[in-house]
């Protein structure tokens, strides 16, 4: 299967801080990919590198087989909805569609006007007067009507109310079915992504912690509870992601390709949100815990 996005050692530095470092990914086509991580983890940086808004400081990235923004043809193949869905507040909805038609040779005017009508947007309304949900739908329409092969969205539903959020995702999923799109969608909330994504990338502290098909991730991560024990004594092939102890009990989140046979452990499944939280606490643990000890 061809990869829609391939990155090798990708990194981006601002002055002295690395916003993204050592990122190696191979995202397959035909999937809805979720990019999850806390604020400031580097999600926007990665997505901006993918659409050519940023140049890499280190490493390489290829999207749909070509350097991002390398040519008008490459730009036409990738649709992008930026964070907070920027639109020209002085231009009307109809003006935005005209903008799309003039700037994109592959523009499908029919798709665009059908969507606007179905969404109930007034073509003569200025974009600045639209609600957050309506603006997001307008931005999505602009990205979809140019008929891309890959659609990239940066936290598209972060500032939307629950109803607008649901409507946006419904709309997006319908378009995936209609156009056979690959999608990369970022969010700092796992719940947003859980329904829609079948591939997940966890980005914490400017690094990729883990990536893979959601089914595979859920199948290879387990929650282990049992009597208090030193996690370092787990067998090979079982990697501890996070651990918490009380005086009697140990709870571990473990990653293991094979099944876990140790009878001392109670093995249970783990939800996606808890999986991501386990990775977050692993990265944060080293810096944060000493401070807590002192406070106690």
């Amino acid at each position: 299967m061809t990869a829609v996005l391939e990155a090798h050692g990708l990194g981006r530095r601002y002055r002295r801080r690395w916003a993204l470092s050592d990122c190696t990914l191979k995202i397959p086509a035909g999937q809805v990919v979720g990019l999850v991580g806390p604020n400031g983890a580097g999600k926007t940086t990665l997505l901006h590198l993918a659409v050519g808004l940023l140049q890499p400081t280190a490493g390489t990235i290829e999207v749909l087989g070509d350097r991002p923004a390398a040519s008008p043809a490459q730009l036409a193949r990738v649709g992008f909805v930026a964070q907070d869905t920027p639109t020209y507040s002085g231009l009307t909805v109809a003006d935005h569609l005209r903008l799309g038609a003039h700037l994109n040779p592959g523009w499908d005017a029919r798709t665009a006007s059908d969507r606007i009508e179905r969404l109930g947007l007034d073509p003569r309304q200025r974009a600045g007067k639209l609600s957050g949900g309506q603006r997001a739908q307008l931005a999505l329409t602009l990205a979809l009507a140019k008929k891309p092969g890959l659609l990239i969205l940066d936290e598209p539903v972060a500032s939307l109310d629950p109803l607008a959020r649901r409507e946006f995702l419904q709309s997006l999923m319908e378009a995936v079915v209609d156009q056979g799109l690959s999608v990369v969608l970022s969010s700092h909330l796992v719940a947003d992504l859980e329904r829609a994504c079948d591939y997940l990338i966890v980005l914490i502290d400017s690094r990729v912690q883990i990536s893979g098909e959601v089914d595979h991730l859920l199948g290879t991560h387990h929650l282990l509870t049992g009597p208090r024990r030193d996690p370092a004594r787990l067998p090979e092939g079982q990697q501890v992601i996070s651990a918490s102890h009380t005086d009697r009990q140990t709870t571990l989140t473990v990653r293991s390709e094979g099944p876990i046979h140790d009878p001392a452990w109670v093995v249970s499944k783990i939800g996606l949100e808890d999986l991501v939280l386990a990775y977050m606490s692993r990265t944060v643990g080293a810096e944060r815990r000493p401070a807590l000890e002192v406070q106690r």
Binding site: R166, Q170, M173, V176, V177, R195, A196, C197, D198
Partner: protein
Amino acid sequence: MIEFHLDAHSGVAPYLQLIHQVRQALRLDLLSEGDQLPTVKDVVGRLAINPNTVLKAYRELEYEGLVAARPGLGTFVTRTLGDGSPATIAPLRRELQRWLAKARRTGLDDESIEALMLTTFRSATEGEENIA
């Protein structure tokens, strides 16, 4: 046409939930032979879930022989689940309704009735398994 719903917090994989709902609809006669299942686009447009999830569920149902996909037309039910024809279900339902009326007359509230039904069902099932 049936409508799917998703319980995001049940811990059950979404595609399994869809399969379960189709089977339940077949059992309760909400779906009969020849009926069309909602299109992938319809399901995805209502639930905002990944299309591959729906495809996986429909493929599994097809593998079980319950539905068949006709390219360009949709996915259609090919056979019902044999265990319950309307003739066998209707008298059972009536008996259950009578029992419920009786339970209410004794003064039990809804929660107690539900608990009674579930525990009896579970212990009966376990009993059968132990015997089998």
